[in-house]
């Protein structure tokens, strides 16, 4: 039986009309005409011939060419999710155009050009897709777009925003947006996030940013720098938080007023440039008490490794030998902290000094994930180890600051 076929279900002494949906755990799932799905034995079903309804054909979205031009680049994610009938779960299979259907308000504020370089669940994001994404964005910038919205699953959105931050030098806003509650529910955050992203993409910003709910209310979105943002909750709307800096600004909803901090990079400050080389042979390792040195040695042969150490950036003394072996063999090892907030400082305690001696680079106040992406990128740009070290400690895209601000 095929999905969408009309069926008659003879069961429990009644005859129920419905539509065949899928098979699940050995049962046939049918949607009754009352709207309910039930799972029944296949043997209870009879196909009703010729009653298969035509799938409603969605109307083409009319766009207003007089409005400013924005680009929507879709990689998948729940801002544009649909149900997968195989597992019954939500997957990302929309085309970017469908976002305009899901968020009708968008077409009143801009004229959109859409690209779909990938349709993946964001946990399947890879450096290879980052390259494609970066190139797509770069081409759009060159074609004269006012701003870019990248729709992206929230799982790895922060990693991708960091990757694009390094790979694309941009004169226009590149806004990552997603939704924590899928687009198939009336309460989805996709509408507000989408509208606020468009407002941010038209704003005076000249950076890569993530624009998502700032609170659990539908009141305003925060604009987070792509190299300073982290998903800090599995499911809440306000999961994304700026780490170690204040957000770059906010977008009020529904007014869509954009307020940016004085310190942000402005539209047009940078010229467009693409640096899409990445060294993919880089790892990220989370230290834990009792870790065996072999866990570190498993990364031998890697070009780079970021360690999320404890506190100011430590591993156990027992692991330092393995770290030294890695650096001696040419792996660039960067130390960050699993505290996530604050700055690594390996000059204060014995272990830190020993780690410095073993060749690690202090990752300053970079997030482990951002240091990981940056290391891929730096190793993709530069082969000389000393230059790599210097670049890792230099602020390139706002990913690290010379001072750690108080009061966050």
């Amino acid at each position: 039986m095929e999905t969408g076929e009309r069926v008659l279900c003879k069961y429990a002494g009644t005859q129920l009309k419905g539509t065949y949906i899928t098979e699940r755990n050995g049962k046939a799932v049918i949607k009754l005409d009352s709207g309910y799905n039930i799972g029944v034995l296949h043997s209870t079903l009879e196909v009703i011939p010729k009653e298969k309804p035509a799938a409603p054909s969605p109307k083409k979205i009319e766009q207003n060419e007089k409005l400013p031009k924005l680009s929507i680049i879709s990689t998948g994610g729940t801002i544009a999710s649909k149900i997968d009938y195989r597992t019954g779960a939500v997957t990302s299979q929309f085309e970017a155009d469908d976002i305009l259907r899901a968020i009708p308000g968008l077409k009143d504020i801009a004229h959109f050009n859409a690209h779909v370089p990938a349709t993946i669940l964001s946990e399947n994001m890879t450096p290879a897709i980052w390259k494609t994404l970066a190139r797509t964005i770069f081409d759009e910038i060159n074609s004269g777009t006012e701003g870019i919205i990248v729709t992206h699953g929230t799982d790895t959105m922060a990693y991708s925003a960091a990757a694009v931050s390094f790979m694309v030098q941009t004169p226009v806003p590149i806004i990552f947006a997603g939704s924590q509650r899928s687009a198939d529910r009336p309460s989805s955050d996709n509408v507000m996030n989408g509208m606020c992203s468009a407002a941010a993409a038209l704003s005076d910003l000249g950076e890569v940013a993530v624009v998502m709910h700032a609170t659990t209310n539908d009141d305003y979105c925060a604009v987070h720098r792509g190299t300073r943002v982290r998903k800090m909750h599995t499911s809440r709307r306000d999961a994304f938080k700026s780490m170690n800096i204040k957000p770059l600004g906010i977008v009020d909803y529904p007014s869509l007023d954009v307020k940016l901090e004085d310190s942000v990079v402005r539209r047009g400050e940078n010229k467009a440039a693409l640096f899409d080389n990445l060294e993919e042979n880089v790892g990220l390792l989370y230290f834990y008490p009792g870790m065996k040195p072999e866990v570190i040695s498993a990364f031998s042969g890697y070009k780079g490794l970021v360690i999320a150490g404890t506190g100011l950036g430590h591993t156990s003394s027992a692991c330092i030998g393995a770290v030294r072996d890695l650096t001696k063999a040419g792996t660039v090892v960067v130390m960050t902290s699993q505290c996530l907030n604050g700055r690594v400082c390996d000059r204060v305690y014995d272990t830190g000094r020993d780690l410095l001696d073993a060749g690690i680079i202090e990752g300053e106040d970079m997030l482990p994930e951002v240091a990981f992406v940056k290391l891929m990128w730096v190793l993709g740009q530069e082969k000389d180890t000393e230059k790599v070290k210097a670049l890792m400690k230099t602020d390139l895209r706002g990913e690290t600051g010379r001072c750690t601000p108080h009061g966050l």
């Binding site: 699940r24 709207g35 309910y36 009336p186």
Partner: protein
């Protein structure tokens, strides 16, 4: 009225809150809180989404007319991120599934092989997600309460919605309490049968001993149609005693709408979609509403004169129906010439209006006053409802008003508002599971058994059988409490104490049981039960209450008291002999203040009297 003649068909839907430990899709308790106990709040918008089939439900579309309503939700220490729509739902509460299936089995239904949770679009704000999670768990049963029995089409297990505090403000404590929705076939042929079926199902559900009790915990919806009319669903009939009246009034309404239809056709009436801006006309009006309105629009219903104002149900006219439709746009209501001059609108203004709109005497003119945007939306709704009058009765969901009349809520929802809840895995109902489900004894059977086997007075038997404390009654009896003591304590005594202002709700089953067992163990006299309950309700432990109020009395002590009482009245005793027993009983009882059972005192008195005489 000959209901068969008019082709009455009626069915009901019963929504019953289940008394499970946890909610249906999260692990919060199913407890209600007072609004003053809120410990947080948030605000959200809701938007209709397309179903899996690519359509937007018509009921949802209607709600969307009130654009950009922001809903506020109160949070409590008993609510969590699931109610907040900030976390995926937990798997369906197995206790609730088991209870719903038990109900199904009691109604001779067949379970579905695999229960799928659906999302039913509800964007009136009562669900933070914008949908109600619901699942069809069993099909096609029958109950025997009316001649030929009534078919039970389905039982669904749903989550309860958030409680509306006021306007667009909701309380999250109720959201997610499991709800059994039982839908009968349209088998009822008279208003009285509707009432009987509703009462029977209510009894049946309570027989499980695991449903919520009290105001708002059970709600009936009624589906009614008559020949030539249409299916209308009336929501939220909470009072069983009104249900037959609701049916009668709906019959009346449908008959009147059919009459209007026929009259309109006879008059060759029609609806003019020409809209007149008459704001200027009313700039000096005596009507406060019209005077302050930014925009007043008018339309003509050609040949409708007199029909818009015609009563179709006590307190309801065709105009009321149109007004209900118009209100979906946020306006306060409408004026129509059938009711004017009135409400501050003068005769002269009506004449000017009719002149301005070119209305004939047979036409009715309708006015709406609000912002231009809202008034335009309302006019559209009014024209739509006016057109519907030509086909008689629209299919609608309606809301019961106080006396049993109804007002329009929204179109009947279609299948398009249902789509799968993908965050919850389906639950397979195996044959073994179904076989092993135990059917509880019906309350009606219990009532009989309590009277016949336990020897309770029939009225008391009925009362205790229907009582909330009935499960406790059965436990108490099984633990050796005499049925009469248990029934009187749990029904009569608690009732009286409550009437006296005692906080009987705070009395735990365990404490009440302990008191009754103490009586049976002769650690307290049954006369002391009210005082003991009173003390415990104030926070005493049972043991300390017994110690204070009814300390166990030694035989020695009792005989001392008895002797003293007799000796003080020795002349009387000598005079009356054993006849003194009665009067002396009262004196000793008072002296012992419930610390000793009456029978024991009587025995002791008898013995002592014998000695003395």
């Amino acid at each position: 009225m000959d209901y068969e003649d008019i082709g009455l068909m009626a069915g009901i839907e019963i929504h019953q809150q289940l008394d499970t430990k946890e909610k249906l899709f999260c692990r919060c308790p199913t407890k209600l809180r007072d609004v003053s106990e809120k410990n947080g709040e948030f605000k959200r918008y809701l938007r209709a989404t397309e179903s899996e089939m690519g359509e937007i439900d018509r009921a949802a579309k209607e709600e969307m007319k009130k654009q950009d309503r922001i809903y506020t939700y109160y949070e409590y220490d008993t609510t969590c991120l699931v109610e907040n729509d900030e976390e995926p739902p937990a798997p369906m509460n197995p206790e609730a599934v088991e209870l719903a299936l038990t109900m199904a089995k009691m109604m001779d239904m067949s379970p579905v092989g695999q229960v799928h949770v659906m999302r039913k679009l509800v964007i009136d704000g009562s669900n933070t997600s914008g949908f109600q999670r619901t699942s069809l768990v069993a099909l096609n049963g029958r109950i025997p309460c009316i001649p030929g029995g009534a078919g039970i089409e389905s039982i669904c297990l749903e989550e309860e919605a958030a409680q509306r505090v006021e306007g667009d403000l909701f309380s999250l404590d109720r959201l997610g309490i499991p709800l059994a929705e039982i839908t009968t076939a349209p088998d009822m042929k008279t208003p009285e049968q509707v009432k009987e079926v509703a009462a029977y199902i209510g009894m049946l559900l309570r027989s499980t001993g695991r449903v919520k009790r009290g105001i708002g915990t059970i709600r009936q919806d009624v589906n009614i149609s008559i020949r030539g009319g249409a299916r209308v669903e009336i929501k939220g009939v909470q009072d069983l005693n009104l249900i037959d009246e609701v049916v009668r009034r709906e019959i009346l309404r449908q008959q009147n709408l059919l009459f209007i239809r026929d009259e309109l056709i006879k008059r060759e009436a029609s609806v003019s979609d020409e809209i007149f801006d008459v704001t200027e006309l009313f700039k000096d009006t005596g009507s406060a509403i019209l005077k302050k309105a930014k925009s007043i629009l008018a339309v003509r219903l050609l040949g409708f004169n007199g029909l818009v104002g015609k009563e179709i149900q006590p307190g309801r006219r065709l105009g009321s129906e149109m007004s209900d439709y118009a209100k979906k746009c946020g306006v306060g209501g409408l004026f129509h010439t059938d009711e004017l001059p009135a409400y501050g609108v003068s005769e002269e203004e009506v004449i000017k209006l009719r002149g301005f709109t070119n209305a004939n005497p047979g036409d009715c003119v309708i006015l709406v006053a609000d912002t231009k945007k809202r008034a335009q939306c309302a006019i559209g709704q009014i024209l739509m409802r006016a057109e519907m009058a030509f086909s008689g009765v629209p299919e609608e969901t309606r809301k019961m008003l106080e006396e049993g009349s109804t007002s329009y809520m929204r179109p009947l929802p279609g299948a398009a508002r249902m789509y799968p809840e993908t965050d919850v895995l389906p639950v397979d109902i195996t044959d073994e599971y179904w076989e092993e489900l135990r059917i509880p004894e019906l309350i009606t059977e219990k009532e009989k058994r309590f009277a016949e086997e336990m020897g309770l007075d029939p009225a008391l038997a009925k009362n205790i059988a229907y009582s909330v404390r009935r499960p406790l009654f059965e436990i108490a009896v099984s633990k050796g409490v005499k049925p009469n003591l248990a029934a009187r304590t749990l029904y009569s005594t608690l009732r009286e104490l409550k009437r006296d202002g005692v906080d009987t709700v705070s009395l735990s089953d365990a404490d009440i049981l302990e008191i009754m067992l103490a009586v049976e163990a002769e650690k307290a006299a049954k006369e002391a039960v009210p005082d003991l309950l009173r003390a415990v309700s104030k926070g005493d432990s049972v043991a300390s209450a017994i110690e204070k109020i009814a300390p166990s009395v030694s035989e020695e002590e009792l005989s001392e008291v008895v002797s003293a009482v007799i000796n003080e009245r020795i002349d009387f005793v000598k005079e009356q002999g054993m006849r003194a027993l009665g009067p002396l009983m009262g004196v000793v009882m008072k002296e012992m203040r419930g610390r000793v059972d009456g029978k024991v005192i009587s025995e002791a008195l008898k013995n002592e009297l014998k000695k003395v005489l």
